[in-house]
Amino acid sequence: MSEQPMRPATPMLQQIAEHHSLLQRFMGVSKEWKGFVFLLLAGFGLANLAIAYVVVDGRLDGHWYDIRDLGNAVAGLRGWMQDEGFHPAVPYVTTALLGALGILSVVGGWLLIGSWVERRVLAKFQIRQGPNRTGPFGLLQPIADAVKLMQKEVVIPRAADHFLYYAPPVIIFIPALLGWGPVPWAERMSFLDLNVGVLYTIAISSLGVLGVFLAGWSSNNHYSLLGAMRTVAMMVSYEIPISIALLAVVLLTGSMQLSTIVAWQANYNAWLILLLPFAAFTFLFASTAEINRTPNDIGEAESEIVAGFYTEYSGMKAGLFMGVELGNAILVGAMMSTFFLGGYTLFGLETWIPGYLILTTKIGLVYFLFVWLRGTLPRFRLDQLMGYAWKFLIPLSIAQVMLVAIEASIFARWDVPAIFPLVAFALVNLGLTVEMVRRWARALGYAPEIMAQQPVMATTIGGLKAAQKMRGG
């Protein structure tokens, strides 16, 4: 009998076998790949060196051209196109496409790195290993995940509303990308330096509700609907504290332009988190609610409603939802860094290091904080979370806005070196915040000494009578 090659029993197994061999082939040529990657990196480094040489040498028609100033490069391109006599629309469309491409590549890279970081760091928090099979330290895990998700079968519930069911994974991506528009990556380096950047940010962040609600509604599943209702209620509630927290920032810096806010912080060497600790906390907490992350991930509370609004999504559609979640976390990190952590500046270091690297580091830190929270905290209940927004965050934020308004007018009128009022504001705000939070929490009925009463040791053994005796005595 001749040797028959072993045939997989089902087409699916056949597919799996083929994919497996693909993977093996990929692993087999890893040396060449390594060489390729090395060449790529070396080329990148050489190019950098060449440009640095040009910069240091001061060529380029005697203009001081700075590699960090990518915004200027695009402006130069636009200027060149206008000079060449293209149709007026062409330069704008071209530069817009270039910017969009830049943002897409940055966000895409972040998604890959972020998902690896989340899994790996969370694993370390949970005394596990985390991904460690695909590539060094499991670094290729996001790619493997994406490939796996893409080749998975997409199951659509028969009772789902088909058109609406397809739309949300795409719709939900739009605000996650648009939000990057006004973020200043370095000086004169942002896609869309709007003078109403804060307003734009708030407006865009409320768009995410649409996709979530559509997903929950169209799936025709009670879990999905519950998750969508929860998420919508939460997002609507937490828009308000976010807006008020940013109002404090706007009042103090006197601008709605994100680059100006960063410049203000760089100018006075004062991060706004030091001046407005409560606003920073509100922003961070409300953001975790907006983007569905622990401790506020009630929209997809897995122990209650399985996966919330995307319970019925499978394959890459579910992957897109997860990707958006991650992308939103990174976007919030960028916003947090820009508004409260000095953006792309770091006490003068931005003249030596590219600003986008500083911003990236800060985003990474905020993202690490999110992962840390996820690995540590339990989840709030829906009513607790709503109560927290309406009873606690909003009144205190309004009080803080009043305080900041007074401080801003003092700051504008008081003719002394800025360091004195700023230090005074920081101290006053911190002290008042702590005191306000404590008193307000007490007024709302917060009583830790009663809450944390622990069980007592039994003095007798018995039934109801013993219980009553213990309770009475």
Partner: protein, 377 residues
């Protein structure tokens, strides 16, 4: 309501109730337990508990097997506390047949039962916090200790989960020499670990907010519902079989019984936590006191107890594990009944969950700590 309706405002805006099916595959049903919930928005109006997805006809099968052959069934009933089930049945058979147990075997039984209690409570508390939304972190930390305990089981009897360790007349194996240093190391390490969990969870605001005042059981309700174990003690009834009617050698140890003061989820959680500490105390004393000697008495393989009946009960991690055995003089029991603590504790869920919101019901179910293998048998 009608009076207001005449004014033209739609005040009566109650949502039409809908039915939500939770389980048998659901992250927080702890196995294949199924609940059909009638919900009004997020609030539970009514619920139907549907069990039987893991039914294996254990009690009927037991009537065709010898007494020793029935011991493995107790592993599969409460698969998170196999040792306690083993112990309950072994004690029942001994009382039915009048078999003596050597003293060392009694100490070994206590040691393994208490280790099992720690492992089971770790699992219960870990899943409870997981249900409250801490994404698996406490669960995995508590698994660290559980793993070490299961390693000890494996060392001794070869199995980690379905131990089949206790026998009528003693225990099946003497622990190997490497068992004792490992046990001592674990016992020395455990108090620090428990303190760590207390630090993390006992004062955690979110956890307190999620568990304080949720799923309150009054002592009267608890007794009327014949609850047992931490569910009973959490609601303030100081009842522990190890104290009330000491079996094995529990009367020789100095330990306390923690009793909750409010009867809510948090109290049940803390009772388990503190019971773990007491178990460590018992282990320390048992290790110090254990005498030398045989680990079992030889009994005939096909044991034929005299005609009679017996109800033996021990305090398992979930409460009173009871075995009702009827002998007709043959090698197999005429009737074998298991009083499963989970099943009876679960019966109160409907009352607790009515009017509560879905997250609260999930946490309450977690605090009752069910094992479906035991409910369905």
């Amino acid at each position: 309501m009608p009076a207001r309706r005449r004014q033209g405002t739609n005040v009566n805006s109650t949502v039409e109730p809908y039915v939500l099916n939770i389980g048998p595959q659901h992250p927080s049903t702890h196995g294949v337990f199924r609940v059909r919930v009638v919900m009004d928005g997020e609030v539970i109006r009514d619920l139907d508990m549907i069990v039987g997805y893991l039914h294996r006809s254990m009690e009927k099968l037991a009537e065709e097997r010898t007494y020793t052959q029935n011991i493995p069934f107790t592993d599969r009933a409460d698969y998170l506390a196999a040792m306690s089930g083993n112990l309950g049945l072994a004690l029942g058979i001994e009382r039915l047949a009048g078999v003596e147990v050597p003293e060392r075997a009694s100490y070994l039984r206590v040691i393994f039962a208490e280790l099992q209690r720690i492992a089971s409570h770790a699992m219960a508390n870990g899943t409870l916090v997981s249900d409250a939304g801490a994404w698996q972190t406490p669960l995995l930390y508590m698994f660290r200790e559980r793993e070490k305990i299961l390693d000890l089981f494996e060392m001794t009897c070869g199995a980690r989960l379905t131990t089949n360790y206790m026998r009528a007349g003693g225990v099946s194996f003497e622990p190997p020499p490497e068992f004792w240093p490992a046990l001592k190391e674990l016992v020395a390490e455990l108090p620090g670990r428990i303190d760590e969990y207390m630090e993390l969870l006992a004062d955690n605001e979110i956890f307190l907010g999620r568990t304080r005042g949720i799923g309150v059981i009054t002592p009267e309700d608890a007794i009327n519902g014949s609850l047992v174990g931490p569910a009973l003690r959490g609601s303030g009834v100081p009842w522990d079989l190890r104290k009330a009617e000491p079996y094995c050698v529990y009367d020789r140890f100095d330990f306390d019984v923690p009793v909750g003061i409010r009867g809510d989820v948090y109290d049940r959680f803390m009772c388990r936590m503190m019971e773990t500490r007491e178990s460590v105390r018992i282990l320390q004393q048992a290790i110090a006191q254990i005498p030398a000697g045989p680990h079992k008495n030889d009994i005939p393989l096909a044991l034929r107890p005299p005609v009679g009946e017996v109800y033996s009960r021990v305090e398992g991690p979930r409460g009173e594990v009871g075995f009702y055995l009827v002998s007709d003089g043959g090698p197999a029991p005429y009737r074998f009944h298991l009083r499963a603590p989970s099943l009876i504790n679960l019966s109160l869920l409907r009352e607790l969950a009515r009017g509560a919101s879905l997250p609260d019901a999930v946490v309450t179910l977690g605090s009752i700590d069910i094992v479906v293998g035991e409910i369905d048998r």
